[in-house]
Symmetry: C2
Subunit: 285 residues, 2 copies
């Protein structure tokens, strides 16, 4: 049994707990909070269900203790730097860190890589939603006069998105002023954005999300090869599940001596799954 601990107990930590308890080859080795003593964690793998900006700090300490980590770090432009920093620690201390193991970055990345291998020339469009964007919701909430905000990402195709921003105004705030400030914010200025005042943002809350990932490309010299990947999912449940599946891969890589930090495109799908190679090849190939 793989002993998996959780650090951080928000939506994703809770979902990861359920995925661990549902896994036939894992035991839950503890749930820890951000201020826990990292030296006290005794497990094979720790899932870092903390805010993204705290991932590197925790992963570094744990990897240096030889404990594998999995995170769902989601700042696309900084993934390579995180992977490089953790790779160095993991190589020295013989551990494995799987970085950016969510659905995007994460499982969508695996699909993008596979589709590029199937049709090397072409364009992939990743269309997100409909679903809540945490980054945009936080940005809208930071605007003066906004008490609470929810920004929904609506896919318009070819990677273009509409933002539907639902706001609860603070007492006395002027809607037109707030709306103008949101539309001028760098998070919203480049997309079609609609601002809507509502009584209660909480009443709209829904963790549904989705993706429509499309590639049209060329295999060899043959054009018009068309591929599409769609999903509609509960966001934290999928993220937690992906992290748990990657915990299995981290443990196996460490067992095989494949130390270092890896993103999901560097993992073989079979290592995400419980069971023997024979069972999985017979069931899935």
């Amino acid at each position: 049994m793989i002993r998996v601990a959780i650090l951080g107990y928000g939506n994703i930590g809770r979902a990861a707990e359920q995925a661990i308890l549902s896994a036939p080859d894992m035991t839950l080795a503890g749930i820890y909070h951000h201020d826990s003593c990292l030296e006290c964690i005794d497990s094979d793998v720790v899932l870092l269900c903390t805010p993204t900006r705290e991932v590197q700090k925790f992963a570094t300490v744990l990897a240096a203790r030889g404990i594998c980590t999995v995170d769902s770090f989601d700042i696309h432009g900084q993934i390579w730097e995180l992977r490089s920093a953790l790779d160095a620690v993991c190589q020295v201390h013989k551990s494995v860190s799987i970085v950016s193991a969510g659905w995007d970055p994460g499982s969508d990345s695996m699909v993008r890589a596979l589709l590029t291998a199937l049709a090397p020339k072409g364009i992939t469009y990743t269309n997100f939603g409909p679903g809540r964007s945490m980054g945009h919701s936080v940005a809208a909430k930071a605007i003066k006069g906004v008490k609470n905000a929810l920004s929904m990402t609506i896919p318009l195709g070819t990677g273009v998105h509409r933002r539907m921003v639902y706001i609860e105004l603070e007492e006395g705030a002027d809607f037109k002023t707030v709306e103008a400030a949101i539309l001028a914010d760098d998070y919203f200025a480049h997309d079609e954005t609609h601002v809507i005042a509502v009584e209660s943002v909480e009443a709209l809350n829904n963790v549904a999300h989705g993706v429509n990932l499309v590639r049209s490309g060329v295999s060899g010299e043959t054009h018009n090869q068309r591929f599409e990947f769609n999903m509609t999912i509960n966001n934290p449940a999928l993220t937690g599940q992906v992290m748990v599946s990657c915990a299995r891969a981290a443990f196996r890589l460490k067992t095989r001596g494949g130390f270092g930090a890896k993103t999901m495109i560097e993992l073989a799908p079979i290592d995400l799954l419980p069971g023997s190679t024979e069972q999985l090849v017979k069931a899935l190939v």
Copy 2:
């Protein structure tokens, strides 16, 4: 540069040739026919574009010479046995064989494995077509009174398929008798099958194919997680491209000392692609 040779020069061999010539990191090391001297082949990898039943014979000889092979062996029930047999040869002779590297089995298998990792409980349906089934076409052509035949696979959902069988009758053959024989054949008896007489089967010929792969499952304890993978493709072009992408993976595995036989679910998507880890992580994750 990876030196890749082709053994067998039918539809798939020709498509593989185009994919090799389009690859930035490969050179074409020769095109060989079934009766060629295998001992004369000098390359890093050989693509076995031969009939499926000849794959094991050729792969065994080449693997024993330390040459990597890639095949698109497509008899689902015998893949594990082929992999096991070639694995033993590859381990002894330090080579790598990628087996069943087409689109199904092959890239679809990677998608099925990934979707199972995203929602471990649930059902995956693989719906094929519309497209030509070689096995069914050959079976229909073998019926007495049939001069030529084309069996199209039409997806009806939940893994159920309709067979549209277009036949050219031999001089004097009775349509009703031939139709009854086709409907009674074990290849067709279990599916909804329609037999249609045509003037020319060749006039209908089209290598288009497709898949609609659907999974609804449970992530952790959260139900109703829905995933779908669709493609509409030129069949030999995609098969040839998958084999060429897997030739790259075979070469890399051998370079890293990862000898043995593997199916595509045992490969990391990044190894299918040209470029450095840094380039690919930055572009795709």
